[in-house]
Point group: C2
Chain length 209, copies 2
């Protein structure tokens, strides 16, 4: 499993020309790191008298955050799995018309599969952002900078995953299907970027006054 | 060593209320991941006939990238080390005027030390961005999305590290020194954000046409 590699090994294999992990898997890991920073803020708020009135909310955030971290780590592996059919499709022969047709069909299906992981990474990072939105309001002020770091990592994970959606949809022959996926990704991108910028600006403003 | 933890363990300990790793160390790791994506693009360009005229440039980029990755991974550890004196300073007694004065002095020095790691992370991510700028021009077009993911991770690492500079300078009593550090950080932040946005837009434009 890729996520059982040490951080050092992950960076090394990512840097190599090995087909996986790539930008999608790296986005899932950065998303998990972003969510973990939010969890840290939650854990530093837990049990503090000053934040007595939000203890139940923080517990609920931590439960959801734990699940999102696990899901994002699982998506590191998933992204590697869904790349395999695409990698195989690239290698198919295209000498005859029949081979070309067959290759196009296999490729189209492989592209759809390859999109599924980065789309799921986008969905999960967006959910993680919503928890940061709540943490920016209710979390311990002593750890507020970590909400800012968390949200900026989630934004970059969302954007990184989106590039991995767009590079696959760009190669699809079925343009209607491709545009449907693009619209879905664009909507998440718009929502997430706006949310992240508001939260980051709030944190930066709080730190720099 | 923190970077010898598995990715999964890193996320777990980051999520906990353990004092380290925190947002600074996480920024260094995300910076290393960003640089590794650039290295991957370099490695996928190496030895390709189509890119014969840039082989020496790519080799030079890969050499520098390898060093930056190692330096950023070392900064994950360094950020944890420089947080220790600050953590100890917080715990000093402040019952008498003398104790308060002593604590203030120790705290001021600890804050300066604590700033050193995130400042170095900013410097290294900025250098890593410059390599991405070159890769966006010369790297294999097949891996161009990874230049985009790499640069957006580096931007978030730069911004994440900056919050860790500002939270420390904000607590310094010596405002002249604090402002000097802030100016240095702001200059890197401005340069890096602009550079990243240009490179990301170039990649996104290339993917989506």
């Amino acid at each position: 499993m890729i996520t059982n590699k040490t951080c050092r090994e992950f960076v090394d294999v990512l840097a190599s020309k090995e087909p996986v992990p790539g930008g999608g898997g790296a986005s899932a890991l950065v998303g998990a790191i972003g969510m973990a920073l939010g969890s840290m803020v939650g854990n530093l708020t837990l049990g503090k008298k000053k934040y007595a009135d939000v203890q139940e909310d923080i517990k609920a955030i931590l439960d959801k955050a734990r699940i999102l971290q696990d899901e994002l780590l699982a998506l590191v592996e998933k992204d590697a799995e869904v790349f395999e059919p695409l990698s195989r499709a690239y290698g198919l022969p295209r000498n005859t018309e029949e081979e070309k047709k067959k290759r196009d069909e296999v490729m189209e299906e492989a592209l759809r599969i390859a999109c599924s992981a980065p789309l799921a990474i986008m969905e999960k990072t967006l959910e993680a952002m919503k928890l940061h939105e709540e943490l920016a309001q209710k979390g311990s002020r002593l750890a507020i900078s970590d909400v800012g770091v968390g949200i900026i990592f989630l934004k970059s994970a969302l954007m990184g995953a989106s590039l991995n959606v767009f590079i696959n949809t760009g190669m699809m022959k079925d343009r209607d299907y491709a545009e449907e996926i693009n619209k879905k990704a664009e909507a998440m991108l718009d929502e997430g970027k706006k949310m992240a910028d508001v939260i980051y600006a709030k944190v930066e403003g709080e730190i720099r006054t």
